[in-house]
Amino acid sequence: MARPFLKTHYKQDVRLLVRGGGASIYGLVLILALTAPWAVSANMISQLTYFYIFALAGLSLFILVGMSGQISLGHGAFMACGAYATAVLQGSGSDLALSLALSVALTGVTGFVFGMLIGRLPRLLIVFATFSFAFIILEISSRWDAAGGASGVPVSPAPVFLGLLLDTGSRRYFLVLGVLCTALLTVLNVQRSASGRALRAIRDSKSMGAGFGVNIVHYRALAFAYSAGMMGAAGSLYAIWALVLEPSAFDLMLSVSLLAMVFIGGMGRVHGVFFGAAFLVFLPEGLAALGRSLTLLSTRTVMPDAVGMGLHRAAEFFMTPLAQTTALGLAILIVARYMPEGIDGVWQRGKNYARAFPLSPGQHGQGARRTGLIRDKS
């Protein structure tokens, strides 16, 4: 599969997995994910749940940014809507399945109406509209008494999902995994349906899409609705993961981080979302590990005092939130300037390089294919 985006037959366009041959690998990943609660520690399960929630949020932005080309700096607000709706519904003692469905419906409808209002604007103004919306929602949620105001609102630690008590971390893990898989199937299906093609058409050129008879405002609003609904689900699951909701958790920084996540991961394929979510979720851990190893290095080895002090200060810096901001900023800049297709693009290029080795993969692997050394599977 040296040319991932080239399709030569209509059937390739409606296939669920873009790469038909990868089913066994995806199956293996799914089995690993399903058996994880018996294999790793409870702390790790919590981390993985968090990772899935962020991947879900990333899928939501993938629909909006990757498929319809609209950029949102305010998706944290939709997450907040979903989370608060779930908290309030859980507080009144309803079933989690109902709360989840209502949260998704609420945010989805909000997203659709919002998308209809701003769908005709140039994309730059859509960015502005989304962050205004986010600031307004944030202000309301920090003032609104039913949502606990600025001090936050607690969520029941033992929700009931269709009669099942989700009182342990691993049970919640399975719920989140199930929702994530559903969302993933939804995204893949939207991608191969007529709506997906319409979205891609207006993403690449508004006038071309309009020329082919795509109703731009309608499809932009539709993308917004799908995306907001999925973000609502992510917020809902975040509520039962975090157990207490503070308005400050959903501020602009969250919206920007979510956008940075899909941007760093890469927007060409769904895979990028998972790369990006892994980067964002495990970044603090990674930096802290780096800091610890630097501390070890500075204490265990003999070196001049100045170097030791420098290492020590660097190690301290890696433990602070400032280090995460720095790493995120640097990653964004590197991706923006040098690897616009994100981590996923680098991964694919590396794969093509390995396939064509020792020949040059050329542009999209064409050089090697011409020699007949690699065969295009699709």
């Binding site: 940014v65 080309g69 950029i71 700096l73 209002l117 701003i118 604007l121 140039p122 994309r123 730059l124 103004l125 960015v127 502005f128 509209a129 962050f131 205004s132 919306f133 600031f135 307004i136 202000e139 003032r143 993403r203 690449d204 050129s205 508004k206 602009l252 920007v256 956008l259 940075a260 941007f263 927007m267 400032l322 901001t325 720095t326 995120l328 900023g329 640097l330 990653a331 964004i332 800049l333 991706v335 923006a336 300037r337 616009p340």
Partner: protein, 342 residues
């Protein structure tokens, strides 16, 4: 022919100066009345309608300055600099943090800080420039990423001592009394300096060589960018924007205090620029003043919460009703609404 053109240019120059002088004179005539209103404060709370106008005017000036900086960069390179708020914060922090290290005068420190931020802005511009014609997402993300790095720098300089930082200025605490009303000097200085900066900027953009290069890029986009000199002069816009941002920060800090959230001001300046018409210089300033007045009014008549939401509500209403704002053109977004990805 050449002489004629030069004469014409000089005529336009003096025309602008003349209009500016008349405007300034009128402004100075009105100023005593305005400052009459600035004085009406008691216990930190603004009470009168006049006080609202004054407070709106003060914050409007700041929003206008930041919006002006955004507009400059947008006109030159068709991108929105989301790091502008961090330029403001860095300018304020570096000017007032230097008082601990450097035993320099207020003006020296301000000039140093403006120079520092301008230089940093030019570097940022050089980094972001190649992305501008490619895709909206890449420029948005790149400026946000730059903002992250500048924020880290700001916090490293401030060392978590934002609130304790001394924000002494030659104006602060001084006031003079006209007809029994106290007039704080700081507010007056802010308004005058803003007016001076805006006037100087308009003169620069309209009448200098670099200014006309800037306008050429704004008009012709990539066609003008094919000229290497013009390409470099896009960075002038970044330098000016950095300087304006730092100046806004230095003026704002003594009035509003230094906080970590100072960089969020860019999200108030964007509504101002859109209200005035995105891409229009006078629109940016007008929009800033209007947003400032609206915020102050909402704060007085409704609540603090409403005050914080006003700018965004106005932005959403403008976007739905009249996206090109007061002075904007419908062509302002032509270049930027191309394909989503490169």
């Amino acid at each position: 022919m050449r002489t004629e053109r030069r004469l014409e240019s000089m005529e336009r120059f003096f025309d602008t100066v003349w209009r500016g002088l008349i405007g300034g004179a009128l402004f100075l005539l009105v100023l005593p009345f305005l400052s009459f209103l600035i004085g009406e404060k008691s216990g930190g709370a603004v009470l009168s309608w006049g006080g609202v106008i004054a407070s709106g005017l003060l914050r409007g000036c700041i929003y206008g300055l930041v919006a002006l900086a955004l507009t400059l960069i947008y006109r030159a390179q068709r991108l929105v600099n989301f790091a502008q708020g961090d330029f403001v914060a860095l300018g304020a922090v570096s000017a007032f943090a230097a008082s601990a290290v450097l035993a320099a005068e207020y003006w020296t420190r301000a000039a140093l800080s403006i120079a520092l931020v301008s230089a940093l802005a030019v570097l940022s511009g050089a980094f972001v420039r190649p992305l501008a014609p490619t895709s909206l997402l890449r420029t948005v993300m790149a400026t946000l990423g730059l903002g992250f790095l500048i924020r880290v720098l700001t916090e490293e300089i401030a060392q978590e001592r934002f609130s304790e930082m001394v924000t002494e200025t030659p104006f602060l605490g001084k006031e003079f009394i006209i007809a029994g009303t106290k007039i704080p000097f700081q507010g007056l200085a802010l308004i005058l300096i803003t007016a001076g900066l805006c006037g100087g900027l308009l003169l620069f953009v309209r009448h200098s060589r670099w200014g006309s290069a800037l306008r050429a890029i704004g008009c012709a986009g990539e066609d003008a960018l094919s000229d290497a000199i013009l390409r470099r002069s896009g960075l002038i816009a970044w330098g000016l924007a950095g300087g304006l941002g730092a100046a806004a920060g230095i003026l704002l800090a003594p009035l509003a205090g230094l906080t970590e959230d100072m960089s969020l001001i860019v999200f108030k300046a964007i509504p101002a620029a859109v209200l005035g018409g995105f891409g229009s210089l006078r629109g940016a300033l007008t929009g800033g003043l209007l947003i400032g007045a609206a915020e102050a009014g909402a704060g007085l008549y409704i609540s603090d919460s409403a005050e914080r939401m006003t700018a965004y509500v106005i932005l959403l209403v403008v976007l739905v009703i009249r996206p090109r704002g007061l002075f904007g053109t419908s062509q302002a977004f032509r270049k930027i609404d191309g394909p989503a990805f490169s």
